[in-house]
């Protein structure tokens, strides 16, 4: 893609140079040299090569705060994505976190290997090989090995419990989901790190797996998986005959119909909690109220808001396993402090990556607040 095409595609030419993007950017607050406005201005003045060689290109979190506030509607996220595609084609890439293992794990999944990813399914969980609903597990089995107890980068969490709890919840509301061993990584990180071809390979394999199961509805819990399947698969691979649903949407519907019942003394551990909007679930998918409805309907829990919530929420500090730095840590500890200041016992999130990143930051800081995933909270509170 040429610089002109990128500018045209993302409507960068509408940029007024007002700087709302840079003043909204969580990275720019920590690294003064990082500026979304400057990147767009450089493109408009024809300094594409300079952007491509700039390491800061990989510091963007794709959190969408700039794009949500831009008065001219510049598609900043795709501007960064397409610039990264260009950079990648010139052999430049960001500094991969965790030695690049997560990126390699994603790439390896596009090979024709027979995975063994369903090791977590226990006898009490009802799953099927074919059916109406497909539960897209995503990276949870891999996260569990890398970030779980005794894992390679142990941050003391059990990602795979999320998958078990999801199936438990679905079983309770009468859904026996399809869980496939042939499922792959959704490709979100490859796409946003500029590897469009790698993304397409994974997406095609996933669509084939979903279609073979006969499922018409795909349930995602990971917000990144949700936006990728819902928005990016049709965008890059054509319209698909599947409906993509986020678990919070199903749960909120069940709740409104009175079908979801919680234990009376559901929450003893958490009296007061606050909700951290993951970027993909909030600003990108615009699912703000469903998780809040669910949390506040659990008996004994009071939901309080952080100052920066909903569309103004801040990112968990790093994205796509690239350029995790002191800047990321600062964003994360500030977010955790903000949560503590509300007086909450726990920060509730809905994204496995937010959970990993915030737990990692907590390890290095003297912070008391607990971090809990909404799916785990619901599963533990169900009657």
């Amino acid at each position: 893609m040429s610089l002109e095409e990128i500018i045209k595609d993302t409507k960068a030419y509408y940029c007024l140079g007002c700087g709302v993007c840079t003043s909204s950017c969580p990275v720019a607050r920590v690294i003064p040299s990082f500026s979304p406005r400057l990147l767009v201005e450089k493109a408009l003045f024809g300094f594409g090569d300079e952007i491509i060689s700039d390491k800061d290109l990989w510091s963007c979190l794709i959190c969408g705060r700039c794009a949500s506030r831009c008065p001219s509607g510049v598609d900043y996220l795709n501007f960064v994505r397409e610039m990264r595609m260009e950079a990648l084609s010139k052999g430049k890439e960001g500094l991969l976190a965790h030695d690049g293992i997560l990126n390699t794990i994603m790439e390896l999944q596009s090979l024709n290997l027979k995975q063994d990813r369903n090791f977590w399914i226990t006898d009490d969980l009802e799953v099927a090989d074919a059916g109406e609903y497909f539960y897209f597990v995503g990276c949870l089995p891999y996260f569990d090995l890398v970030f779980g107890e005794g894992g390679l980068c142990d941050v003391g969490i059990r990602s795979i419990e999320r998958a078990r709890n999801t199936v438990r919840i679905l079983n309770k509301i009468g859904i026996k989901p399809v869980v496939s061993n042939n499922e792959r990584c959704c490709g979100h990180d490859l796409l946003w790190n500029g590897d469009l071809e790698g993304f397409k390979r994974l997406a095609e394999l996933n669509l084939k797996t979903i279609k073979e199961s006969g499922a018409k509805k795909v349930i995602c819990v990971c917000p990144e998986g949700y936006v990728t399947l819902k928005r990016d698969y049709p965008r890059f691979l054509g319209e698909q005959d599947i409906e993509v649903i986020q678990l919070c949407q199903i749960l909120a519907d069940e709740l409104r119909e009175g079908k979801l019942k919680f234990l009376e003394n559901a929450s003893v551990d958490y009296k007061k909690v606050t909700f951290h909007d993951p970027c993909s679930l909030g600003r990108i998918a615009e699912i703000y109220e469903e998780p809040r409805e669910i949390i506040s309907s659990i008996p004994g829990i009071e939901l309080v808001e952080m100052e920066r919530n909903r569309v103004d929420a801040v990112c968990c500090g790093t994205s796509g396993w690239v350029n995790c730095s002191g800047c990321s840590k600062k964003i994360q500890t500030e977010r955790l402090k903000e949560a503590e200041e509300t007086g909450a016992d726990a920060l509730i999130t809905a994204c496995p990556k937010c959970e990993i990143h915030l737990n990692c930051a907590k390890y290095n800081a003297d912070l008391k607040i607990r971090i809990k995933d909404i799916t785990d909270l619901v599963a533990e509170s169900l009657a």
């Binding site: 063994d116 990813r117 390679l152």
Partner: protein
């Protein structure tokens, strides 16, 4: 059995024991299959999960990591650190579908030239039986 298939094996050998063991096998003129490509590292503790996954991604059919016997590590406990990491990496390659049998950790001392040749011969035959890592481009 895959006739005519020559596996690609990447070997990470520590400078103080196993690389010297490989050297001894060479100077003693002990034969072992030429399928292994040895990469010298200062200690097996230097071998990260990324080394192993990248090897498989870039066309290895098997990966051998060889270091000092427990207690002999030049850096006291680098080999034990490696052993701990390898347990997790083995599970990881298992889930990925590469297969645990394609990854092996062995202890070979500087005096064990014969043992080095035996380990390499046996591992090469094992990977030959397993066949090429499916899905990777051949050639």
């Amino acid at each position: 059995m895959n006739k005519g298939f020559e596996p690609n094996i990447v070997g990470f050998a520590c400078n103080w024991c196993s690389y010297a063991g490989a050297d001894l096998a060479g100077t003693s003129r002990i034969k072992y299959p030429p399928n292994i490509k040895i990469i010298r590292v200062m200690c097996t503790g230097r071998v990260t999960p990324a080394f192993i996954l990248k090897s498989f991604q870039n066309g290895a059919d098997g990966v051998l990591v060889a270091g000092c016997h427990p207690g002999d590590c030049h850096y006291i406990a680098g080999n034990l650190k490696c052993e701990k990491i390898m347990d997790v990496v083995k599970r990881l390659v298992g889930i990925l579908g590469i297969g645990k049998e394609r990854l092996r950790l062995e202890w070979v001392s500087a005096s064990e030239g014969g043992r080095f040749a035996d380990v390499v011969t046996e591992f090469t035959e094992q990977v030959r039986e397993l066949g090429p890592l499916s899905g990777k481009s051949q050639g």
